[in-house]
Symmetry: C2
Subunit: 363 residues, 2 copies
């Protein structure tokens, strides 16, 4: 058995994994309806929202596609703010689904700047919607600007779509207090559940926009999901066994308490950052915007990140993630979200140090 220190899929607690092995049920029957009502309430608590939230049987990318096809018409002007690979995925989706794209890209390690976003909106008043990543898994950066950005976007009567796939449930995302129109998350991150489910919340602004949007959609049509949910169902057969897991993990999460979960993630993340710095390593993320769910550690001069990762697997049964795209070989990403304790962080840091030392690095 390997020790996962990747930013998803994350380790699943045994009781959650076992919950997924329960006998199959009828997805059109009362047991499923009761479970869907219960998990939807639980997910809304974690989202800190009274808005509608639907659960899709898909990965986080499915939720991103859902956001684009429900909220952007072909030919519509939108702004994508990208601070890494997952921001770029929105750019890809917008281009594929016929949006007229303005993109605002920030260097890897930087957070987005709200003034530059405001300037982009001023410069092109035709932009209707802003897509942004809250927590960029590829660089270990959390954008701290969401509350301010929502004000900027709403002052112009525009819509804000937030990919919070790898943050929501691990760090605070105050959907209602921050007035976020559309928020996405995915089961395989802080939710301590296997991959296969994704969440989309929509407020009234978003529903109104979706209702008027002619973009073709079916599997990811949020309206169909919300309508079915009213009678305790999903429009298409849901991933029932993963849903069983979610039901159990929400029980664990709500028992721990949101504030406790957020405090734990912050404490563990700080430990990872301090541990890496103590070894003489540098972080990719700028100071003050480091993610509490994943840390991107710069690979020491003359070494290759992929070799470090291989060594950590071989010698310590510990799996880190590598850099993607232009960052390939240049960073090691240490995931510390979801079902994660101080001991898991210590063993992860130990594996990292051991692998580096074996390869000749001196702390």
């Amino acid at each position: 058995m390997v020790n996962l220190r990747i930013p998803g899929p994350t380790a699943v607690p045994v009781e959650v994994a076992q919950a997924g092995a329960a006998p199959m049920i009828n997805h059109r029957g009362p047991e499923f309806a009761a479970m869907a009502a219960r998990t939807t309430e639980g997910v809304k608590k974690v989202y800190q929202t009274k808005n509608d939230v639907v659960t899709l049987s898909a990965s986080g990318t499915g939720a991103m596609e859902a956001a684009v096809v429900n909220l952007m018409a072909p030919g519509e002007e939108v702004l994508v703010v990208s601070i890494g690979e997952f921001g770029d995925r929105f750019i890809n989706l917008v281009n594929i689904y016929g949006g007229k794209l303005t993109s605002l890209k920030f260097e890897p390690g930087l957070a987005a700047d709200v003034n530059q976003i405001e300037d982009a909106l001023k410069k092109n008043p035709a932009i209707t919607t802003v897509f942004i990543t809250h927590n960029e898994t590829s660089t270990g950066v959390t954008n701290p600007i969401l509350p301010d950005l929502a004000k900027v976007v709403h002052a112009r009567d525009r819509l804000l779509v937030v990919d919070a796939i790898s943050s929501l449930s691990s760090v605070p995302v105050k959907t209602d207090e921050w007035d976020l129109d559309v928020v996405l998350s995915g089961s395989q991150k802080g939710w301590m559940t296997a991959p296969g489910l994704a969440f989309v919340s929509m407020n009234d602004r978003a529903w109104a926009k979706a209702a008027a949007n002619p973009q073709p959609r079916f599997y990811f049509d949020i309206k169909r999901h919300q309508d079915s949910l009213k009678s305790g169902q999903t429009p298409w057969t849901p991933a029932v066994s993963v849903w069983f897991q979610l039901d159990k993990s929400l029980e664990l999460m709500l028992a721990e308490g949101l504030d406790q979960i957020f405090a734990r993630h912050h404490r563990l993340a700080t430990k990872v950052r301090n541990g890496a710095k103590a070894m003489g390593l540098k972080l990719l993320a700028s100071e003050g915007v480091e993610s509490d769910t994943v840390t991107a550690i710069r690979v020491p001069e003359g070494m290759n990140g992929d070799d470090i990762i291989k060594t950590a697997i071989q010698e310590y049964d510990t799996v880190f993630a590598g850099g993607q795209g232009a960052l390939k070989g240049k960073i090691v990403r240490f995931g510390h979200l979801g079902f994660m304790t101080d001991a898991d962080i210590d063993s992860g840091l130990n594996a990292l140090k051991g692998a580096l030392t074996k390869m000749g690095f001196k702390a």
Copy 2:
């Protein structure tokens, strides 16, 4: 615990359910790559094909959407052959994604007629693609015409897309021998696995058509899935725990043997049909086209199918499915696919008879 006698999701063997509770793995690592290679080979054996098969993290409807968006351009003329609710779903998808639809609908209980399909193709030579349901879950009918239909379609150099979601893995679908261009299936049917994965096979004709198709697609872009599979990955995070289950269920299925699985399904289906007839009940499906995976039983005069279903749950913990759309209340659907034995059929028939008797029906 309830006894599922619905046409999916089906009961999952304990060892399959438990396989899904295994510790989470890195979806970009060698364990996942080995599993994906193994399951893809296994699925291809069940498909009886050498064509490429991809595994999507979605329900069967996701596979249907994938077929439509990969193979039909906006404005393209296509023919949908519908013998029930799931054929109508293709009609819905074609309309939503901008196809120019010709539909050929048959009354519930009837199979499709190959001569009428040929006439429709003759009448409108602009039709490029034929979509058809192999096994119609809503009426309990299996279309027996696929080999002949493939010849008719290919004689005109057209493409044939087959929804075999509720048949393939339970009854013979000879993808290569019958020369089927695109074939869909879903994990929660005869595959004895929880819902959450769907399969799409494509031959060279289909790949060529997909390559030239401008229809926007991302999550369901089959090319992206096939390209990722070459390096043992999926383009987006896969439903790993369901995939663990599939890996185990394929082991069980290949150990039982395809011919044995098909013979078992035929034997059990015959038992259901004979049992229902012995009670004086009538089937919806015409003689000779009854499905070996689900039997739609007509509700006796003066009774409501939904009441029968409620009684079977209350008195026998046995769950049948009801009629959909215009058939609501008029049929009871008895699923007999996947992990199913003679004893399961006997207890199902007993529950049906008991529920009917309690409601005043005399056999």
